[in-house]
């Protein structure tokens, strides 16, 4: 508990210092609880998520950094490796490939990379995975773009 708090505090300081270094990620710690974080990440360019801002919720366990943070999308997203209803993310580093060498910031970068490079063979969203697996790139992209527009872009007017 003490160790995880100390580590998170270091990450907090690092995030403050490096705020400008990674303009695609805005990582914010809950005011009253250092184990709760949220992040706003930009949809990577040349993907159907471009132009969207996606919100992630982090729940950090007490055994952090020996155990990975729990991360999910709060913003609705159509992606093979993200559960359409819960926002749960299928990413190896959030499960068995986790190590303390990762940080909350680098997890965000890994999630952005996952958005740009979906892995349709381990789908959490089967509809999305099947579109990609059957080669219907256009179908996948238009669905993903539609949800980006509906859920991840600021409403006009």
């Amino acid at each position: 508990m003490q160790a995880s708090r100390a580590r998170l505090f270091k990450e907090y300081k690092e995030v403050q210092r490096e705020k400008m270094a990674d303009p695609d990620i805005q990582l914010v710690c809950d005011d009253s609880n250092i184990f709760k974080w949220t992040a706003l990440i930009k949809g990577p360019s040349e993907t159907p998520y471009e132009g969207g801002i996606f919100q992630l919720a982090f729940a950090v366990p007490e055994q952090y950094p020996l155990q990975p943070p729990q991360v999910r999308f709060l913003t609705k997203i159509f992606h093979p490796n993200v559960h359409f209803k819960t926002g749960e993310i299928c990413l190896d580093i959030l499960k068995n490939a986790w190590s303390p060498a990762w940080t909350l910031q680098s997890v965000c970068r890994a999630i952005i990379a996952l958005m740009a490079h979906p892995e349709p063979d381990s789908p959490l969203n089967c509809d999305s995975g099947n579109l990609l697996r059957s080669g219907d790139i256009r179908g996948y992209q238009s669905m993903a773009r539609m949800y980006t527009r509906l859920a991840a872009m600021p409403k006009k007017g």
């Binding site: 270091k10 559960h83 209803k85 190896d92 499960k95 190590s99 303390p100 060498a101």
Partner: protein, 302 residues
């Protein structure tokens, strides 16, 4: 997969963790998180059976394990008994090599009070720190693990306020918040060494997993619970400058009839060791591990 899963409240994380039996009739909702929880429940069950580091047991307890097993193994255990008289088991959680090394090394320092060895290993630890920094690891990702190992190293040396006894060392080795941190320290050191000398390790790694050196470190060295192979042992031994003997207990036998027990000495790359001992005499490992396919325990020579 409709409606069952509302958005998860954050509080559900703890709540779910306390009910480790998932609903098996609910397959569509059997998510990754549930699988992780089930895995940690299995691990918790395993934890009740064997502590991270067990008590010292006579070698006869090993023979008892194979009472109705392979005669070759029983024969080999008999041979083993000529040189070794005790075994200390470690938990089979994928960290057994590092955990065995941890206890064996700290116990050796506690018993020998070899300050020269401690100074020597500290120099190497600082080298490992520089290696990680030059590889681009942020200090805060590994420094807590380094600090905790150095703290243990200090405390097994007697004569300080923080000095500990053999019993306390065993307790600490069984305390997850210390034991896992030291294991993770070794994982960082091992990963750094492999990546620093990636040209040397590459052929071995390609032979093992067909991945790049970097991928191997990310997926098979740094994550807790990933089992160790000769690549890990070589790298750790080289990085810390600590020789390790591994005794192999398996069913292999030679044609000539006589049963012998093989061992392999991992001797750190030259330079480090000779510098430390100040002479070129042959180094003999003070750490002896017993390898049975898939698992490492600690062996005690007579």
């Amino acid at each position: 997969m409709q409606n069952q899963e509302g958005p998860k409240a954050d509080g559900e994380f703890e709540a779910a963790a306390s009910t480790p039996t998932p609903e098996f009739d609910d397959w569509p909702n059997f998510g990754d998180d549930d699988i992780m929880q089930q895995q940690s429940a299995i691990r918790a069950e395993e934890a009740d059976k064997t502590p991270f580091v067990g008590d010292k047991e006579p070698l006869s307890s090993l023979a008892a394990e194979y009472k109705s097993g392979s005669p070759i193994l029983l024969e080999k255990i008999k041979v083993l008994g000529e040189k070794y008289d005790a075994i200390r088991r470690t938990r089979g959680d994928g960290n057994c090599f590092f955990r065995s090394f941890m206890f064996s090394y700290l116990e050796h320092i506690l018993e020998s009070q070899d300050r020269k060895e401690v100074d020597h290993v500290k120099v190497n630890v600082e080298q490992c720190r520089k290696t990680l920094q030059s590889l681009g690891y942020a200090d805060f990702t590994f420094e807590d693990f380094f600090a905790l190992f150095l703290e243990q190293l200090e405390s097994v040396l007697q004569g300080n306020e923080t000095s500990i006894s053999q019993d306390e060392l065993l307790l600490r080795s069984r305390d997850q918040s210390i034991s896992d941190y030291v294991v993770m320290f070794f994982r960082f050191v091992t990963s750094g060494e492999i990546r620093r000398r990636s040209e040397f390790f590459e052929p071995f790694i390609t032979g093992l997993t067909n991945t790049t050196v970097e991928q191997f470190c990310k997926s098979s060295v740094e994550p807790m619970g990933e089992e160790s192979d000769h690549v890990h042992i070589t790298a750790l031994s080289d990085a810390l400058g600590v020789p390790i003997r591994v005794v192999y207990l398996d069913r292999s036998s030679c044609d000539s009839g006589g049963v012998s027990v093989n061992h392999h000495d991992f001797i750190p790359a030259v330079g480090d060791v000779t510098n430390a001992s100040g002479s070129s005499e042959t180094v003999s490992p003070f750490i002896t591990l017993l390898y049975r396919p898939g698992h490492y325990d600690i062996l005690y020579p007579k």
